[in-house]
Structure formats: structure tokens, C-alpha cells
């Protein structure tokens, strides 16, 4: 049954998934290229000094990529479900409703994690050719919240889409935007630089807190709250 459900999710998102993967890898490769160029043109010590202080100078291009990926995947995956109440078909399947909703969401999270993991592996491996592990660790802490924010927005899209009441959708949508913002406090342009190095684990934990909320909106759907 799970296999069938995954098959359906895959049919929905496959082209989007491939497109998003391409965009992600394009951005990652271009960051790697500009990093390589910088090392061939500028004195390496200057880049070291800047990167050591800024924790990820070359990576701002990547900042909103996970966010866009999560948003698009969520919409592509869940819009067909709520359009004409197709989600009734899913909830009617001989499966526990909570299981089918969670599986759908976990499928999306898995797809995003797959893309982001490849992103991170390429980026960090390439970086470690030029930078010592101390700096690479710093880069990891810089890009981790960006990646997590992609998952956060995805989870909120799933919650908002399954939720049947418009007024609730609006408040939960705003809550979601606020939640995403919390993952982008790291660098405020022209202001102070903040780091997640002491609290990143907390922001990973938050994912587990918000993910099951899809069951709450699923429950509202079932109760017929309009």
C-alpha cells in the first residue's frame, strides 16, 4: 500500500522534483565555480580571512534556494489533493488516515532532503579542498538553517493545504512565514551577524514539532470544519 501511495506522490511531483534538483545543482555548481575562480584570482589568504569572519561568503546565492524548493514541491504535491476535494480519495483508502497523510508528507520531506543532501555534499566537499575543517564547519552551520527553512516551509504548505478553513489557513500561513523567518536570522545585511552554532539542534528539533500538525488539519478536514 505504501508503495502505491509513494507511486502516486512520485507521479505528481516527478517533473517538479527533477526541475528543482537541476536548479539546486546549477546554483551549487556555480558557487563552486566562483569559489574556484576566486582562489585563482585573489590571494587565498584574503578569502580565508573573509570567510573565517563571515562564515560563508560565497554561499549567499544558495540562501533562498531550499526555501523556493520546499514551497514549490509542497504546492505541486498538495494542490492536486485539495483541488475538487481529491484528498477524500486518499482518506478513503484502506489505510489509517494519519498514516496516509504522514506518508505523503514524509515522501516530500524525503525528496527535499535528498536534493539538499546532494547540495550539501557537493558544496562542503568542494569547500574542503580550499578551506580547513574549521572553516568548513562554519560554512555547514551557515547553510544548515537555510536548508531547514526549506523543510519548514514545505511542512507549513502541507498543513495549510489540507486545512479546510480559510481563516485558519491565513493564520497558520502567517505563523509559517514567521517560522521560516526564524531560520534566516543569521545574516542581516548591513547589520549584525548572528550564528546558529549554539542552537542549531533546536532548529532541527522544531521540524519534528511542526511536522505532525498535518494530522491536525487532516482531522479538521475529516470533521468537516469549513
Amino acid at each position: 500500500m505504501l508503495k502505491s501511495l509513494i507511486y502516486k506522490e512520485w507521479l505528481k511531483v516527478r517533473w517538479t522534483f527533477i526541475g528543482l534538483a537541476l536548479i539546486n545543482f546549477f546554483v551549487i555548481i556555480s558557487i563552486c565555480v566562483s569559489l574556484a575562480n576566486a582562489f585563482s584570482m585573489v590571494d587565498a589568504s584574503k578569502i580565508y580571512a573573509d570567510t573565517a569572519a563571515m562564515q560563508g561568503l560565497f554561499y549567499f546565492d544558495f540562501r533562498y534556494i531550499p526555501l523556493i524548493s520546499g514551497l514549490l514541491l509542497g504546492i505541486v504535491q498538495f494542490y492536486p489533493e485539495i483541488n475538487s476535494s481529491r484528498i477524500k480519495l486518499t482518506l478513503h483508502l484502506p489505510m489509517k488516515e494519519s498514516k496516509s497523510l504522514m506518508s505523503m508528507q514524509l515522501f516530500g520531506i524525503g525528496a527535499l532532503v535528498l536534493i539538499f543532501l546532494v547540495d550539501a555534499i557537493i558544496l562542503l566537499n568542494f569547500s574542503s579542498k580550499y578551506f580547513p575543517s574549521e572553516i568548513v564547519d562554519g560554512i555547514t552551520i551557515t547553510i544548515l538553517p537555510w536548508i531547514l527553512s526549506g523543510l519548514v516551509i514545505y511542512i507549513f504548505v502541507t498543513i495549510v493545504f489540507v486545512e479546510p478553513s480559510w481563516s485558519r489557513r491565513v493564520i497558520i500561513g502567517f505563523t509559517g512565514l514567521a517560522f521560516v523567518d526564524v531560520y534566516h536570522l543569521g545574516t542581516i545585511f548591513g547589520g549584525t551577524i548572528y550564528t546558529y552554532s549554539r542552537s542549531w539542534w533546536m532548529f532541527v528539533l522544531f521540524l519534528f514539532l511542526i511536522s505532525p500538525l498535518i494530522l491536525w488539519s487532516g482531522n479538521n478536514y475529516k470533521r468537516g470544519v469549513k
Partner: protein, 421 residues
Amino acid sequence: MKKTLILKLLLTIVIIAMASIYLPEFYWKTFPHRYYLPRVAYSPILNDLLITKGDFKKARILDLNGNSYSSKEYEALVPQTAFAQLVFIGQLPDTVNGVHFTVPELRKNLFRINFEPAEIDAIQFLMYPLIESKPNRASLSFPHEFFCIKREFQVVDSRTNLVLDNMSSRYSLALIDRGFKFPAKEMFGNPTTRKPFDEGYFVIDNEDKFYHIKRIEDEPFVRKINLPDGVKVVHMVVAERDLREFYGFFVTEDNRLFMIENNTYNLVELPISDYNYKTSLLSINADILYRRVIIINDNKISVLILDRNYKVITTFKDSVTHKDETTVGQVASFIFPFTLQFTSVNSQYINLYPSINGFNFIIVNIILSGLFLLFLIIRKFDIKSSILPIAIILVTGIYGVIAVSVLRDFKKKNSTGVSNE
């Protein structure tokens, strides 16, 4: 049933958390508040303090006897800092209090050193450049070697990204020789070449001992600095200035301020009070005649005027209305039961910074839960089954109202179903 309760509580927490971050933030952005604390100077001519009060539009300059001065008069009274303007109008005195005034000397002596909480609880540099302190050139040059002090002193060549084993072990051994315990807890220095000379780094080792480390003619220089008993360094500002009076200033865990004298490594304590390194702003404002230490805690200012030998001349304390005591602050204390922040002005680390401001909010919370109760009664909802939402509003006030309006978990009397609106 239990599962849905957990989900509801989870959602309530998420909504309340977000509301308690962004509602107060939005509120204070709409009604911003800043403190106009007095600016304090010491006049060698009056031998007294001069206080500038008010905001920049209508500043008033007064002495302690209440005489007021124009800004032109003021400049003539503080030639040690206003010398540029006095030179411009040709009125710079030759000597003041027996000190000869020349522009290069005045300029050399004029500087300011800041201790800000966010710079103390700050992001550590990941690697530091190992700058040669005695270059065989006119100016400093940026090195290819970067280092960090973890299990050992590790030097990396930025051109190859390879560890320089030989150099690493030379520096490690030099440190071990002086009793250094790895890893370093913190390092202070200015990793830049835009300074007249280089004094390397001041390092706290794993046992809170304090060391001065630099690279001289490509060899390690290590010197242990003797600290008074029980003194733990929290933060140091290294100041490579042509004055060469000191290496820099440091503050300690028990909120004391010291200067490290150049060459001798003698420690000179500055007798400050009202300082807390976690929250206060501290600045050392130097000129050819005095050292002014200014400590600011929100709405309070505390000033210490010292002579060049760091002996106290006079002190000054003042305060303005606190943010929370203004109308805007009072309103906030009523409507916001608490505030959650992930960033703090006192730190560069993102973390949970909850704060609570008095208990005025209880009144508003009671009113809000009363209104909610009224709503339940008018719409004929069952009160008993709405205990949880009432409690949420009672405790979390305006944030709880948002959460409850999303949950909408009210039941009609004598029914198993749920109100669907």
C-alpha cells in the same frame, strides 16, 4: 482523543511562540524608543564636568552649577578633544595644565575603545592569520599561514589548504614550554594588516591562564601574563596604537576592567562600578589629558574621569526615563505577557531569549478571558469543555487569543459534535 490533544497543544505552542516573537517586534518597530543620555566631558579649563543634555535637535550644554554654554564656548573649554575645530579658527592653546598641545600629539592620544556585550558573546573567528610582527618591510603584510589553537597549535597554508606540520609543532612546543593547556578557550587580537604594528594575540588557555602569543621573525613568542588571584579574563580589546602605552584593556568575569601596560605587562585596574559585561556598554575615551570611562545600562549612565595615571578625578551618574516607564512601554507591559526572541542585542548567538516585563499583563489577560467567557455564553457554548482555551488565554493573553481562534475548539451544550464555523 489523546493524540488530538497533543496536536492541539503543539499547535498552540507554535502559534503562541511565533506571536510572542513577532507581535512585540512589530509593536516596537511601530513605536520605536531611544534613550538620549547625557554626554559627559571634562574641561581642563573649568576643572569640572560639562554635561550635554537632550537630543541632537535641542542640546543644552551645562556645567554642574547650572551655567549653560554655547557650542562655541564648549569647544574652547575642551581643547583636548575639540582641537580640530580650534585649529581651524586659530584658537588652539599652546599648553593646557602644563601639557604642550600639538596636533600630532593630540591626534595620537585621541581614541576610543569599546566593550559591547554582543562583541563579548561573539562569533569566534574560525581561523586567525599568523601575522609577522617584525616584518622586514615598512608595513605589515598579510600572511598565508592561518592558525587555530585546538588540541594543538595548528597552522594551515591557505594556498594549499594543508597543515604545516613543522610550524605547528614549533608553536605547540613553545606553548607547552610555558605551561599552556590546550585547547585555547578564547583569543583576542586584530587579524588585519591595517594597523601601524602587530602585537599578535592574547589567548586564554583551558585553565583560564592568560598568554601573549606572536610571531617574531618567524619564531613563536609566548609570554604568560600574571593575573591577580581569582581573576578570569572574559574579553580583551587589543589596541595596537602608536602611543604604545598599553597592549589593550580587558574585562573580567567579576566585572573588573584592567589595562595591560606595554612591555612591562603590569596590570592597572580602573575603578569602575555599575558594570556587567553581559549587558552593559563600556567605552574608554582617551585624550591627551584624561581617560573617560563611560558605562551605559539601558537608561543609566555612569562616568569615571581618570587622569593619565589612571587616578580618579571625578565621577558622574545620571539616568533618563526607562523605556518601560514611557506610555508606549506601559501599554506594552499590559498587552504582552512575555516576549520571546531568538536574537539578543547582547549576543551574536541565536538562541531562545525569553523575557517578562512585570505583571501588568495579568489585568489584560483576565479581561480577555472574561470577554472570551462572555462570547461562549452568548453563543451558548459549553463552558466546562472550554476550560483549556480559557486557561490558555488567562496565561498567555493576546497570544492565546490567536491560538484559541485557530483551534476553535468549543462545543455546543449537550452535543457530541463540534461547532463548525
